[in-house]
Amino acid sequence: MFMIFGYPSALLFGQLLLGLINGAFYALLSLGLAIIFGMLNIVNFSHGALFMLGAFVAWGLLEFLGISYWWSLLLAPIIVGAFGVLLEKVFIARLYKLDHLYGLLLTFGLALVIEGLARNQFGSSGMPFAIPKQLQGATDLGFMFMPNYRGWVVAASAGMCLLVWLVIEKTSLGATLRAATENPAIVQSFGINVPRMITLTYAAGVALAAFAGVLAAPIYSVNPNMGASFIITVFAVVVIGGMGSIAGSIVTGFGLGIVEGLTKVFYPQGSSVVIFVVMVIVLLTRPAGLFGKGGH
């Protein structure tokens, strides 16, 4: 073991890894929020609740149907995405013509219902979720021991972020999506079904949250409050990054996770608020956010 800035390297790298993992979740969640915001012009306040739902679906699939973690990684986002289609069709779609404030309040209320139901059904303490056996154990990287599952979380979410970025920036589907974000009326006049696109965008954003939820299940216990505590930090991340760019929200998510991890080493008392402090500084110096466009 060696020392860095007077701290044992294992401690430093360990916290750095924890920071990266939190960053991975921030990135996935803020990415989903940014995609939804781009098309629907609302901030999805139920994002945290749907993240939690993803973890619960994975838990339920394993507990009742014996479906493994790996299938859940695919199935839970599909199931939660389908639920998202329902939410969008039944509730959110009826509010597009109104002030965006109503969209905020509605998704806020939906989050209360989803989290309240989960709390009634499962209590607040939560259930353990075993790490899949292929990823148990740890690997000696030379400078630290890395638990395999944690390495996987970072890799999987980075891969997913990259995939989403590629789809949006490099494919024709993504081009249509970006065009519809800029000007839905013109895109619709080309014969593209924009309302359906909006629904599917919401489902995709929500599915990303569920994917993050499944990844998170073995790390945190699966509990009804897991999303509520996360999502507020993610909002701060979104304010810091600005919702203008997809790449921006990914970079900001990972970056702030690392900042948080390092704060845990150098100034542990400040680690719960450091992201909010960064947000305040960014608001004072670059009000539109690091990657944001314009003032609003």
Binding site: L95, H100, Y102, L104, L106, L112, G116, V239, L283, P287
Partner: protein, 310 residues
């Protein structure tokens, strides 16, 4: 008087009568809670109803006002009136900081920033020594008003709370119906046009944000003096959600709506105690139903039917 229209005057008389006679029928503690939350909701309505700014962090002002009033009354032995005023001033000061950071950003960003800042205040309260952490500040003495009138008796306390509520309610009514209030409504309806007419809209929003935060602080301070306790619950995000819901149910942008909303939700909470864990779900369902079918709230809907302003 006070610029009440006829329907508003009638409503005010009804409300005044209700405030005076209801202690004969209901437990004064419950009524005092209703009045504190009614004040909080009126403060919130000033912002969301009259300027269209949706803050998701109002619990910070309410909770901090509560902590400061409780601390001042218990540790410094301050007169309860001064303790409550201190709560209001701290709420206003905190509001100035929030406003300074958030006012420049609109809509969804404003919502997210206020939520994040209030979460920061919550974390601060869990760690700062003066808040007493998980225990909160307990056994806060109600003290003697102006050093003379003991507030130990519930009816004496109720009278004081009722006076605070009525005076602040009239103040809010006055603000809304002043030229300043007209500019606020102009900003709500069309901010670019208000700007082009020469109003510095950010200054107006800032001022009303501080007023709203200050009144929320007074409400929180009053509540902690009444109940003798200030805890993390009042500064937590769920509290911001509750005040939004009260305002929504009663009617955003109506002067009496938030009072009715506070009354209804507090009665649901206390009389349907068997709801227990279902309370959060019930709240969420009311939220969703209001937004889908009932956006104007009870009094907003009534006012629209009768074609009057309430």
């Amino acid at each position: 008087m006070f610029g009440f229209s006829r329907p508003q005057g009638i409503s005010f008389v009804i409300m005044l009568a209700a405030v005076i006679i209801s202690p004969a029928f209901f437990y004064p503690i419950l009524l005092m809670k209703v009045l504190c939350f009614a004040l909080f909701a009126c403060a919130y309505n000033l912002l969301i109803g009259y300027v269209g700014l949706g803050s998701f962090g109002h619990a910070a002002f309410f909770g901090m006002g509560g902590y400061v009033a409780a601390y001042a009354a218990k540790k410094w032995g301050l007169d309860p009136a001064l303790a409550i005023i201190a709560g209001g001033l701290v709420g206003a000061a905190l509001g100035a900081v929030f406003g300074w950071l958030a006012i420049g950003r609109q809509g969804i960003y404003f919502a997210m920033i206020t939520l994040a800042l209030s979460q920061m205040v919550f974390f601060f309260c869990t760690q700062a020594s003066f808040t007493g952490g998980e225990d909160g500040i307990q056994q806060v003495p109600r003290g003697k008003l102006f050093g003379m009138i003991s507030l130990q008796d519930d009816m004496a306390m109720y009278t004081v709370v009722a006076v605070i509520f009525l005076v602040t309610f009239l103040l809010i009514h006055r603000i809304v119906h002043s030229p300043f209030g007209q500019v606020l409504k102009a900003i709500r309806e069309n901010e670019p046009r208000a700007t082009s007419l020469g109003y510095r809209t950010d200054d107006y929003k800032m001022l009303v944000f501080i007023l709203s935060a200050g009144i929320a602080g007074i409400a929180g301070g009053t509540k902690s003096i009444v109940f003798g306790i200030a805890t993390l619950t009042d500064v937590a995000n769920a509290q911001s959600g509750e005040v939004i819901l009260m305002t929504l149910v009663g009617g955003m942008g109506t002067i009496f709506g938030p009072v009715l909303g506070a009354l209804i939700l507090n009665f649901i909470e206390s009389y349907l105690a068997q709801l227990g864990a279902w309370f959060a779900v019930t709240q969420g369902v009311i939220f969703v139903l209001c937004i889908m079918f009932f956006r104007r709230g009870i009094l907003g809907e009534l006012a629209a039917r009768l074609k009057v302003a309430l």
